[in-house]
């Protein structure tokens, strides 16, 4: 965990999450890791956040207010911004390709899970690799 914290320290992370209490928790966790955190609660704000900020990674809830966040994921892939798809859904064949191939983080997750997955995906070495 300390290793994660080290790896994640100073990363600029966007959290796309519509449920406030979950967003708050994630924010707290990220702050503990030493990340800088930006929140987006809907797709529109998420997209504008992507365009405006140079992000090191994104935690993307798959479903925001009942809408799939495929558009956001596509935007991220095209910009080579690494992201973790945070979801309670399992993967399904009917998913669009960007969703299918995305790195996932299953809800609910522990702080430890979050740190490990983030380090894997956003870590200094992991970089933009997905």
């Amino acid at each position: 965990m300390e290793n994660h914290a080290e790896a994640l320290n100073g990363l600029h992370i966007l959290v796309v999450e519509d449920e406030a209490i979950v967003a708050m928790m994630v924010e707290d966790m990220l702050l503990d890791f030493g990340c800088r955190v930006k929140l987006a609660a809907n797709i529109k704000s998420a997209l504008s956040a992507i365009c405006d900020h140079s992000l090191d990674g994104v935690l993307l809830d798959m479903n925001i207010h009942g809408q799939l966040t495929t558009a956001v994921a596509e935007e991220l892939v095209s910009r080579s911004v690494p992201f973790l798809l945070v979801t309670g859904y399992g993967s399904s064949n009917s998913d669009p390709p960007v969703i299918k191939t995305a790195q996932r983080l299953q809800k609910p997750f522990s702080r430890r899970d979050l740190g490990r997955r983030m380090a894997e995906v956003f870590g200094a070495n992991g970089g933009a690799a997905t």
Partner: protein, 1190 residues
């Protein structure tokens, strides 16, 4: 046969030597066993080699039909079964004992000395007979030092080659068809009578070894040595053979005979002739086998093609060109064996005649002494291998193909009369244009050859041609035949018929005939009288003469030549010079030579001494101009010349007295007168006698000529008789065949129990089968009566009408009729066609179809039953034909398709409706899967475009019984599962959603817990706060669940949140607002926010003091573009409020939730009289509840 021919040639000059020479007799050559096999051969070969010792001293050559495109594994397989090395043959390989050689694919294999030769096959694939090729070369190269083995295989390959092996004296083993996987090749070989042993493959090695160890093979040179002292025993053998078979083998060459007898001995495993004769005596089968072997000869169609071409050029073509249409052409083929040669002549003549657009009365007599051969020849069935070497046009023209073999067409067979005839014992045929007798004379002793040639001379008409085998010649009979082609042994008969040398028995007894009964050419009947007159004149006036040929041999005597010629001592001769009397010889020889040289008449006078007398004779030699000069015939005439010097000298005489003399003179005178009278009388009597004598002589002459004429006629008659005999036996044979066919047909017709009546064109009964009894009750005496006269025991009004129609139109008519006893029949009327396609009446057959009828009824019932089931089934069912056209369907199907039977009937399934059935996947199932698997089950097929109109069907299909030639039908059972499918999809979606939500809720719970714990001071504090929030969450979910997770009404949320506090003190809490529904998620957020506010109020705010009041109000704010909800939370009269120094969790949650989840804004005001909170968030405009949920 070339070895045989050489052998024959050798034996002509040196009869005692076994003529085998060069390669054929090369005893250094390794004995080779040729093995031919085809399909199923590997198994048989394995068994064979399993039983074969590795040190037999034999070389084995295996020819198997192999796939030319694949590499052969045969040698590898065989090497598992023998200790001998197995070698794949390459061209030029030398054979070594104790080796197995395997043919390379797609080659012909021959043996050349000790070297194996591979050649490209001449025949195209499918017509190749590599086994025949090998066997033929083995026979040529090894004669008896070889064995041929035929194992399992289809076709007739090998049979032709086996004939060569047999003729060469080799051993033939054939696999027992019962043990062969494919018995075509073995059966063909056995059927041709070629097998020496029929054995299982495992039993063959022992027989092979016994054969090769026998003296016949091991030391063939011993034959000539043992021959001399075996002669008496051989005589006994011949006697035995004659007694049993009627054949006299004296005339055959003994070297050949001995070799073949020896071969039989080796097959029987008998070492000496004595024992063999003892074995032979009781064993009729072996006698037959021996006779067959002794008489074997190899023949084939157009054997020696060049010889046949020559025959065609110089004989056949000319013959056809010379004759007019309708003329007869007569050919005799003695020793015809199995008839190939006779058919060859027939084909050639037929072809030439057709080419010249002529029709001849062709008669080809083919004779042989073996009935087996004749029967085979008459049947005219030959193995493919022997026929396929002919040009295709010939095969097409003259043969019919029968399953692997060929039969000579009937038209050709009818041209050839096959008859049993022994050339040496039976009278010959006569007036032949051509005799072909090939490769028979080489088997007989020179004496026999001479006799045969004499007979041929007799049989041929003047100028007729003789065609012999390439190793045969006319030998010393050059006075009978003239050579036309020396190389190909074609000869022409010349000279008159020679009764003097012909000698054949007259119907059993031998004719005795004086050698001097020679006569001129056969007299024609019309010439009889003039001829007689001519003879008389000749006798009276013509001088004694003889007719001689160019060699000085007398052909004809005329008049009394006894004064000039006499027979010398010893054998009678016809040589004129040998017969000439003393004094004539030298001048005669000179004169003959001169006449032959100059062809000018020559005359001389000679003195002949006869006893005391000397006679002068004038001899005239005149060449006969009327006869072709080539014949060189000369007439030699003898005429006596008046003698100039008297032969007897006069003697002295005496004197007498006058008186006495005159008296005596008178007396003498009277006596003289008397004598004169007597003389005159005598003379007149003498004259009379002379006249009588002359009359008698002329009568005698006449009788003599009549006699000669009769003699000739008799011979002719004998020949005719023989010919008739042959034709008769052929007819007899045909009658037997017809009889057999008749019996077969009668048995067939009565055996089938099909009532059959044959009628003539007047509808009179000609013949009927016993099965007609229950229908027409015919008896034998009814034959000839019209069918209309008989009481029918069946109902058939149209019978006579139909019969007329059939006769008029010649097309068959069928009808189903019912018999009086309730049985059903198919009554069939057919025109009765003869073989030459003439209509000779009618055939009526009645086939009992009662059972079928019953079965049909049963089927009908079953069909109705099945149809009823289909109709009542609720599942859509449809029956299609093979072309996927609608046959029938039940109502459910039409409902499914929303169509009606009349619209759908007979249309293709794909065309039904709007083509919604025309789906590639469905087509693939019906077009590809179904024909292959005959069924498929529960296959899901989707029809129509994706979306709401898409329909899913579960399809089951069966092809229905296509056996018995019935049309194939397809049954489809269809079940629509669109709805079920949709439901299932929905359900799946729900489960997934539920899962997601549970996880989301858990995440929320986790967040609540972690956030609560962050700001809790004690565990108790945490527990209370956590339980409260969790409870709120649970409440929110309760609300949502109640409304089916679709939307929640704000009033309910508020009431629900405040419920714990309102119960205690309802007057203190005011709740007011319109009926508005928010999204489920917004509902949860709102509830959580309200919960935080309420907890805070209960802890620190208005609800913590008894006087505190709370008001919760909300309203819709509409500002044109968007609609929002404003919710006011107002606390009053509570404890005095102090703004918090730092933002607590509650505050943060309120702000965040409002902002993130509701997309709005929360304004918190810490007023002194109480907390005030205003939430403004967009309203999505959900319709009010009630109409929403459903």
């Amino acid at each position: 046969m070339s070895d045989e021919a050489e052998e024959a040639a050798a034996e002509t000059t040196e009869p005692l030597a076994d003529g085998k020479s060069d390669a054929a007799g090369d005893n250094c050559g390794v004995p080779v066993v040729g093995i031919g096999a085809s399909a199923g051969g590997i198994e048989a070969l394995s068994q064979f080699f399993d039983g074969m010792a590795g040190d037999s001293g034999l070389a084995f050559v295996v020819v198997l039909h192999l796939d030319p495109t694949r590499e052969s594994q045969l040698s590898a397989i065989l090497s598992h079964h023998t200790s001998m090395p197995v070698v794949e043959i390459e061209d030029g390989l030398e054979v070594t004992p104790n080796h197995v050689y395997v043919i390379a694919p797609n080659h012909d294999l021959t043996l050349d000395g000790n070297v194996l030769r591979l050649t490209e096959p001449e025949q195209p694939r499918g017509h190749r007979h590599p086994v025949d090729v090998l066997f033929k070369s083995l026979a040529e190269q090894r004669a008896e030092r070889t064995a041929a083995v035929i194992l399992s295989g289809t076709g007739t390959n090998g049979t032709q080659g086996l004939k060569e092996i047999k003729a060469g004296g080799g051993l033939i083993l054939v696999q027992d068809p019962a043990t062969a996987r494919f018995d075509g090749m073995p059966r063909s070989a056995i059927g041709a009578g070629l097998a020496d042993h029929v054995l299982a493959p495992a039993d063959m090695p022992a027989t092979l070894l016994q054969y090769f160890q026998h003296g016949y093979v091991a030391a063939p040179d011993g034959l000539a040595v043992v021959r001399g002292d075996k002669q008496p025993r051989l005589e006994r053998l011949f006697g035995l053979l004659r007694a049993h078979s009627g054949f006299d083998f004296h005339i055959y060459k003994s070297a050949t005979l001995l070799r073949r007898i020896n071969r039989r001995m080796s097959l029987m495993g008998v070492g000496n002739l004595e024992d063999y004769i003892d074995r032979l005596r009781p064993d009729l089968g072996e006698v037959k086998a021996l006779v067959r072997d002794l008489l074997i000869s190899v023949t084939s169609f157009f054997r020696d093609a060049d010889a046949w071409r020559t025959l065609d050029d110089i004989v056949i073509s000319q013959m056809v060109a010379d004759r007019e249409t309708g003329a007869s052409i007569r050919v005799w083929v003695p020793g015809c064996s199995t008839g190939e040669e006779a058919y060859s002549v027939a084909m050639l003549l037929q072809e030439r005649a057709e080419a010249a657009h002529k029709q001849f009365d062709l008669k080809i007599f083919a004779s042989d002494i073996q009935d087996d051969n004749l029967n085979a020849a008459r049947a005219g069935v030959y193995p493919g291998s022997s026929v396929e070497s002919l040009p295709t046009e010939r095969i097409m023209r003259f043969f019919e193909r029968l399953d692997g073999s060929y039969q000579v067409r009937k038209s050709l067979r009818d041209l050839v009369v096959f008859a049993r005839q022994n050339l040496f014992h039976d009278p010959p045929f006569s007036r032949m244009d051509l005799i072909t007798c090939r490769n028979m004379l080489i088997y007989v002793e020179p004496e026999g050859q001479k006799r045969a040639l004499t007979l041929f001379h007799f049989s041929l008409r003047e100028g007729g041609r003789l065609f012999l085998g390439s190793a045969e010649t006319i030998g010393r009979a050059d006075d009978l035949f003239e050579t036309l082609s020396k190389k190909w042994r074609i000869y022409r008969r010349f000279g008159p018929t020679r009764h003097d040398i012909v000698d054949f028995p007259v119907l059993g007894g031998r004719a005795t005939r004086s050698p001097q009964s020679g006569a001129g050419p056969m007299p024609e009947p019309s010439m009889r009288v003039s001829d007689a007159a001519r003879r008389a004149l000749l006798d009276r006036y013509a001088p004694a003469s003889v007719l001689i040929d160019r060699r000085g041999r007398v052909l004809y005597f005329h008049g009394d030549t006894g004064d000039y010629l006499k027979q010398p001592n010893g054998e009678p001769t016809r040589d004129l010079l040998a017969m000439a009397r003393e004094g004539l010889l030298s001048k005669l020889r000179v004169a003959i030579n001169r006449v032959i040289a100059d062809e000018q008449e020559s005359r001389f006078i000679a003195q002949i001494r006869q006893g005391d007398l000397l006679r002068s004779v004038a001899v005239t030699l005149s060449p006969l101009p009327t006869v072709p000069p080539a014949s060189g015939m000369t007439l030699v005439t003898f005429e006596p010349v008046a003698s100039e010097s008297p032969a007897v000298l006069p003697t002295a005489k005496s004197n007498a007295e006058d008186e006495v003399a005159s008296a005596l003179e008178n007396e003498l005178r009277s006596a003289r007168a008397e004598l004169q009278g007597s003389i005159e009388q005598l003379e007149s009597v003498n004259e009379e006698l002379k006249a009588s004598n002359e009359e008698a002589t002329s009568m005698n002459e006449e009788l003599q000529s009549t006699n000669e004429e009769l003699e000739t006629s008799k011979e002719e008659l004998q020949s005719f008789n023989e010919e008739l005999h042959s034709v008769n036996s052929q007819l007899q044979h045909k009658i037997n065949e017809l009889d057999q066919t008749g019996n077969d047909l009668a048995n067939l017709l009565s055996g089938t129990e099909i009532a059959t009546v044959f009628q003539d064109t007047e509808l009179r009964v000609k013949w009927f089968s016993p099965a007609t009894k229950p229908l027409l009750n015919l008896v034998l005496s009814d034959v000839g009566r019209p069918i209309a006269h008989f009481a029918r025991q069946f109902i058939d009004d149209k019978l006579l009408g139909d019969a007329e129609t059939v006769l008029a139109k010649l097309t068959p008519i069928e009808a189903e009729i019912r018999g009086d006893d309730g049985k059903w029949f198919i009554r069939r009327l057919l025109p009765y066609r003869t073989r030459d396609n003439r209509i000779a009446g009618l055939v009526i057959t009645f086939v009992d179809i009662t059972d079928r009828r019953r079965a049909t009824d049963g089927i009908d019932e079953a069909r109705i039953y099945a149809e009823a089931i289909v109709a009542t089934a609720r599942q859509p069912l449809v029956v299609l034909d093979a072309a996927l056209r609608m046959r029938s369907a039940n109502r459910a199907f039409y409902t499914l398709l929303d169509t009606t039977p009349d619209k759908a009937e007979h249309r293709r399934l794909y065309e039904l409706g709007n083509g919604e059935w025309n789906v590639p996947e469905f087509r693939r199932l019906l077009d590809e899967v179904l024909p292959k698997d005959e069924r498929f089950d529960d296959v899901e097929v989707t029809f129509g475009p994706a979306g709401r109109d898409q329909r899913t069907m579960l399809v089951n299909a069966r092809t229905l019984a296509r056996n018995g030639g019935r049309e194939q039908l397809i049954l489809l059972a269809i079940e629509e599962i669109t709805q079920r499918k949709r439901d299932a999809g929905h359900q799946e979606m729900l489960i997934g959603e539920l899962n997601h939500r549970v996880k989301n809720v858990l995440a929320t719970v986790q967040a609540i817990m972690s956030q609560t714990s962050r700001q809790s001071i004690s565990l108790d504090d945490f527990r209370v706060a956590f339980e409260g929030r969790l409870h709120a969450l649970a409440q929110a979910h309760d609300l949502l669940t109640e409304k089916g997770w679709v939307g929640t009404e704000i009033g309910q949320i508020v009431t629900q949140t405040l419920a714990p506090y309102r119960l205690q003190d309802s007057a203190r809490i005011a709740v007011e607002g319109p009926l508005l529904t928010v999204r489920s998620q917004s509902g949860v957020a709102l509830l959580m926010v309200l919960h935080e506010l309420a907890t805070n109020a209960a802890k620190y705010g208005a609800l913590s003091a008894p006087a505190g009041k709370l008001s919760v109000t909300w309203r819709r704010i509409s500002d044109g573009a968007s609609e929002r909800i404003q919710l006011q939370w107002t606390e009053t009269d509570g404890p005095k409020v102090t703004p918090p120094t730092r933002q607590g969790f509650g505050t943060k949650l309120i702000e965040r939730s409002t902002m993130h989840e509701l997309g709005g804004e929360a304004r918190l005001a810490y007023l002194e009289e109480g907390l005030r909170c205003e939430l403004i968030f967009p309203w999505a405009g959900l319709p009010i509840q009630g109409s929403e949920i459903g």
